[in-house]
Symmetry: C2
Subunit: 510 residues, 2 copies
């Protein structure tokens, strides 16, 4: 082999003509070659290609077109993300070459084979996920391996660090800084909007970052957004804590843990939850606000993430150990997750419940009020703002005197909103009562079906849409009595909702 | 709820206008909705949709378009396979509704969670894979779970049965019926074309179904196709065994184990091999020809599927037990897989090696000849066509007397080919010698790099393309002496090949 002849940089790279595929994945970068070209270049489905136009270069994942109609030989089909990355247009010429696979793949394979991963390896994988460098097959392999092989405490810590490294870490001057988190799955369970103002009224700092709904009818961020803006800049967040002691905002604005979203997407598709990933996901977000004290609510029930007490207790222990590592004191409580909590389900309807509780309205939903008071009490004792055994009493007093409501108004105003009464909240244009078909006792209410129905009514996208749930488990009902009121934006949505109610029969009467 | 009102079949289903996406996946059926429509209908990425046009209905997997350019609200983007399934065209109107997930998904989840699967559950999953009902995420979950949780003998048996159930089972009258299989990865290792005629010459029935190359430069079917047709009908296969005692054909024509291909695709992407899936894949194919005796060659080496002896011995034991269950006597041998075998790599070049061995040409590659004689000897003893300890001698005699060559000619003619001498075989238009850059001893030859180079030269698609490997491990070479000769179809291909040789440096001299 005459070395010189082949080692110069002018090695001809294959050149292809761009076909704009007019598709955006919003995700991975894709390039498509015709089967014949792939064969010639010995390229396979899921290989990575460098695609080069002038001095712009990107990596894309290769898909193979069987038909000449989709991508004819000599052409390369590019998705929008790939086109944008190299500033290419239809009919441009691009050069391609084989790119190495992301480094994290080797570590994923090691995890599959049962090796524990070290900090650098996990950081590499999380970075590959964050940068959207992995295919569905590769990402799924990692998620399933983490689920089956389980993650060691060290691995969970590394994942937490790697995830939180992509975001901002806030530190506040006024201590104690407290925080709470609920391991979701319960519609209407909007305790944060009660607990935060109670703790703030007691003098604690409460920087509450929260999520928007993914598969649920409302996240805490969606509900708070019914009252005021929830996308605040970092300086504004700091000022809000300094001025009023607390905020309830959307964590997404802080760019926390994007790898987390990709992992959860796969977990949702298979309907599994890896304990390690879940803890890392929670803790990465919590670390970002540097709390001294953290209360975690673990509702158990067959339709929540945690099915039984044994799993909850195991989880509790691990979360406490991870918290300790990061210098956060963690308390966990196990609660009943067998049915929705409160009356409203959907952003505005839930916000209404919370305002009614904060305003001591006698018609406020008692279950949500009691759960919130219990949790606020625990946090008050935990962070030293109430004596042992006096937490709930203190919480009740802060609520009854209007101190909590006052704190909530200050938070709303600090975030850019205005005080509003429950009655002034906007309403959905259409409502429809669904009535009991027989007399009896309510035996069960399905969290998942209720969530689905509220979503079909338009929540969380339509803030006023959702459900009012007028009955709970063990309540007696008479035939013809109203069970739920659906709030919808349009007739179409109302129809989908009614159809889903009929199909899922979420409220069982015996 | 007034039941009658909502239970009639005229429930309005959402109607969308078709956008022909002009893409074929050759695989799963895809439909794309704009993000806004998905939100309204509460549909998610990877949900299944029924898509209905008039009385034609199909199921597709949902993808979400972020941009309005790709799929505007009110439209549904359909891939070619989906369009064809319901006979729809651009701008047609279709109705959609949510379809249930395939049943196998629940069992995949059980496998992930550590449950052993029963026969029905495995059959359901294999059927879902065969019918292309699973997404990449779901199929990958199954593959990784099988790899990590491992498959019990019962599970391997069920998988074997489920995979073979999709194909034809052939039974032959003339016993003994013998078969062989090699657990691949070694370029040039084309022993079947020697072993089959030797055993046929000895009076055994040898129905050899084999594969085409997927990631290698030639499968046995590709090599045999250099000599005669390999796609035979079932009646023709039966007649060939009755008339001449053996055949060497492409198994793909018998529609054996399509689920297997899908699983291997995922395993290749992650570069793992599940032992259970591998055994099921081999045995499903073997069962289809009902052999009495089966010899399995397990080459070990760091670039083959089996890295070490311990793994090989474990595998050997399992294969024997599975064989026993299906009434097949199985012998396994462990061989050296550390370098390519024979001279030619690529269909025609390998066929040439085999013909030279069968014709007792003194220039035939000795390593391939010796390995084939050893294996033929083992099979002869195993099936009672040679006395204990006399197998290799018998094989040598059948080769030397020309009996094996005669059998090969009869097989080639029965399959529709004509006798051909090695010299008459077609040649690639271009050849290029690659010479040693220094004097020394060959320390190692990379199977994977050699395979890659032969593929880039055009094998297996271009039958005459590939490599002649003139040196093997431990051979002494002088600077300037030819190491390999590349046979290529075009200058472009020659260039890619030379570039890859330079980059991978597959032959190390010390």
């Amino acid at each position: 082999l005459k070395k010189k002849k082949y080692s110069n940089k002018k090695d001809k790279m294959p050149v292809f003509r761009v076909k704009d595929m007019d598709i955006a994945t919003g995700d991975v970068r894709i390039a498509i070659l015709n089967k014949k070209d792939a064969q010639i270049l010995d390229l396979f489905h899921l290989d990575r290609l460098y695609i080069k136009k002038n001095n712009k270069k990107t990596t894309a994942i290769l898909d193979i077109a069987e038909s000449e109609k989709a991508v004819p030989p000599g052409s390369i089909g590019l998705f929008e993300e790939t086109l944008a990355a190299i500033n290419a247009k239809h009919n441009d010429k691009v050069e391609i070459s084989l790119a190495p696979k992301p480094k994290g793949l080797e570590y994923i394979r090691n995890k599959i084979k049962g090796k524990k991963l070290n900090h650098n390896e996990i950081t590499t994988i999380i970075k590959d996920i964050t940068k959207k460098r992995l295919t569905d097959v590769e990402l799924t392999s990692f998620v399933i391996a983490n689920y089956i092989r389980e993650m060691s405490l060290k691995e969970v810590i590394s994942t937490t660090k790697a995830m939180s490294a992509t975001g901002t870490i806030l530190k506040f001057k006024k201590h104690p800084v407290v925080d709470k988190h609920c391991i979701g799955g319960i519609p209407g369970n909007r305790t944060s909007l009660i607990i935060v103002p109670i703790l703030v009224a007691a003098g604690a700092s409460f920087p509450k970052t929260s999520s928007r709904a993914i598969t649920s009818p409302a996240g805490t961020a969606d509900t708070m957004e019914a009252l005021c803006p929830v996308k605040l800049t970092i300086p504004k967040l700091k000022k809000t804590i300094a001025d009023v002691g607390g905020f309830i905002v959307w964590g997404g604005a802080m760019n926390l843990a994007p790898a987390d979203d990709a992992i959860i997407k796969v977990e949702n598709a298979i309907n599994i939850t890896s304990e390690g990933n879940m803890i890392a996901s929670i803790m990465a977000k919590k670390i970002s606000v540097s709390p001294d004290y953290l209360l975690i609510d673990i509702p158990i029930g067959k339709e929540t993430k945690i099915a039984d007490k044994e799993t909850a207790v195991k989880l509790k222990r691990k979360i406490s150990r991870i918290g300790k590592y990061f210098g956060i004191k963690v308390k966990t409580m196990i609660s009943d997750g067998s049915q929705p909590i409160g009356r409203g389900i959907g952003p505005v309807l839930e916000a209404k419940d919370c305002l009614m509780i904060l305003k001591n309205n006698p018609n406020a939903p008692e279950d949500l009020k009691q759960k919130s008071l219990k949790m606020a009490g625990m946090l008050l004792e935990f962070c030293g703002k109430a004596k042992k055994g006096k937490g709930k009493k203190t919480a009740e007093r802060l609520l009854k005197t209007g101190a909590a409501y006052g704190a909530m108004v200050r938070i709303i105003e600090a975030q850019g909103g205005k005080e509003i009464t429950p009655e002034q909240l906007p309403k959905a244009p259409l409502t429809k009562k669904i009535k009991a078909e027989k007399t009896g006792t309510i035996e069960s209410i399905s969290n998942q079906a209720i969530a689905k129905i509220a979503r079909l009514a338009g929540a969380p996208k339509t803030k006023t849409a959702g459900i009012e749930l007028l009955k709970h488990k063990k309540d007696k009902v008479k035939k013809g009595e109203t069970l739920i009121i659906i709030h919808a934006k349009s007739k179409d949505k109302l129809q989908y909702t009614l159809k889903a109610f009929k199909e899922t029969n979420p409220i069982k009467i015996k």
